[in-house]
């Protein structure tokens, strides 16, 4: 007559190896490291900009090191991954109802992609890439 419920502990530092979906989630989490560092780089860049043309040029120079190149490629990849996962889940947080029907997720997510592409093109255009 003895109950003895058995508790299976979740390993706090390695749980995410258990399922591919957890790995996908952790990949999304890790993007914050890259985007976080990149945000700091942006601030440093702005500081250089504020400090005058020489410092700005020095900043641009510093970007050209191999370490920086590697980082930025990685950052770009992670940022893209972050954006896509964000767009895909965005419809969940703010459902939009038109008449009786709820707007299908694909429309809201699709809308995000469209805005993203247009905005990116606009910024590239503004920056004089084309």
């Amino acid at each position: 007559m003895s109950r003895r419920p058995y508790v299976r502990e979740v390993p706090p530092t390695s749980w995410y190896f258990r399922m591919p979906r957890y790995m996908r989630y952790m990949a999304r989490e890790v993007t914050s490291i890259f985007i976080g560092i990149y945000t700091m780089i942006m601030v440093f860049g702005l500081a250089a900009l504020a400090a005058g043309p020489e410092r700005w040029d020095a900043f641009l120079k510093a970007l050209q090191t191999p370490l920086s190149l590697t980082f930025h490629w990685l950052a770009l990849a992670f940022a893209l991954y972050n954006s896509f996962t964000w767009f895909n889940v965005a419809p969940k947080a703010l459902p939009i109802q038109v008449g009786e029907e709820l707007m299908p997720d694909i429309v809201v997510a699709g809308g995000h992609y469209v805005v993203w592409v247009l905005l990116s093109l606009f910024i590239l255009f503004w920056a004089g890439v084309f």
Binding site: P5, Y6, V7, V10, V89, A93, L94
Partner: protein
């Protein structure tokens, strides 16, 4: 009717067994079970219990994906045993464990007390906004208003989402996806006026803020409740509340 559906198959079931009166800890046992391809895992378990080992303990009732009893881990995924069709498991071995993140009472039976307590805590019942008595007739509710919460009312309390949510595993105090979704179901109901009371429970650190939007809950939910969506919506609404309360208290008063 084409019929490899009815094809016979021999399947190895690798089942986590635990008898608290005998075992120190759970262990796997392997059974070779003659099956039919169109069976679900529950059929295989029932066959095993009837003709091979009557001591196996597991829960089931409806065999039609609606009572929510038969949740278990099948090849590492939280599933309803009556919805997991053998034809979707082509491998010879299927591994079956009790739902993750819950204590094991015995074999495939997990302890559900924690979920039941949390469900009660979030007040998942109608707290009428404007009280009406039944003799005055129904509360009017348009199909559009019904649609705003119906999806969240489809929860069968199977607890698969708890077994999938890593944050619940790491922090068992987390009220968790299904209970919060049910609170949200009532918050979204045009007849309800109890949101403030429910917020006291779910807008807390143990409530919706423990959720980091892993989204696993929605991926495993057999009834397409989409608890992850419910939780994000609760977060958005709670954030708006917070800003209104702290920075724009004059708006309310």
């Amino acid at each position: 009717m084409t019929d490899n559906r009815l094809a016979a198959r021999q399947i190895e079931l690798e089942i986590l067994r635990y008898d608290p009166e005998k075992d120190q800890e759970p262990h796997f046992e392997r059974y070779s079970v003659p099956c039919i391809n169109e069976w679900c895992v529950l059929d295989a378990l029932n066959h095993l219990k009837d003709s091979i080992d009557p001591t196996l303990a597991y829960r089931w009732s409806c065999h039609m994906q609606v009572c929510g009893s038969c949740g278990m881990m099948i090849n590492g995924e939280p599933k309803l045993a009556c919805k997991a069709m053998l034809r979707d498991y082509p491998d010879a071995v299927i591994r079956i464990e009790p739902l993750a993140h819950f204590p094991v009472e015995r074999d495939l039976v997990s302890v559900a007390d924690d979920f039941m307590d949390k469900l009660k805590r979030v007040k998942p019942y109608l707290i009428p906004g404007k009280v009406r008595v039944p003799t005055e007739g129904e509360y009017k509710q348009t199909p559009a208003q019904l649609k705003r919460y119906r999806q969240f009312a489809m929860c069968i309390n199977c607890m698969l989402c708890y077994a999938a949510c890593p944050e619940y595993g790491l922090q068992p105090k987390f009220i968790g996806p299904a209970a919060i979704s049910l609170a949200h179901r009532y918050n979204q109901d045009s007849r309800d006026g109890g949101r403030d009371e429910r917020q006291e429970e779910i807008a807390t650190n143990e409530g919706v803020w423990e959720c980091t939007f892993v989204g696993a809950c929605s991926e495993v939910c057999p009834k397409h409740v989409d608890p992850a969506a419910a939780l994000q919506q609760v977060k958005v609404a709670s954030t708006v509340d917070w800003y209104l309360e702290h920075f724009m208290s004059w708006v309310k008063k």
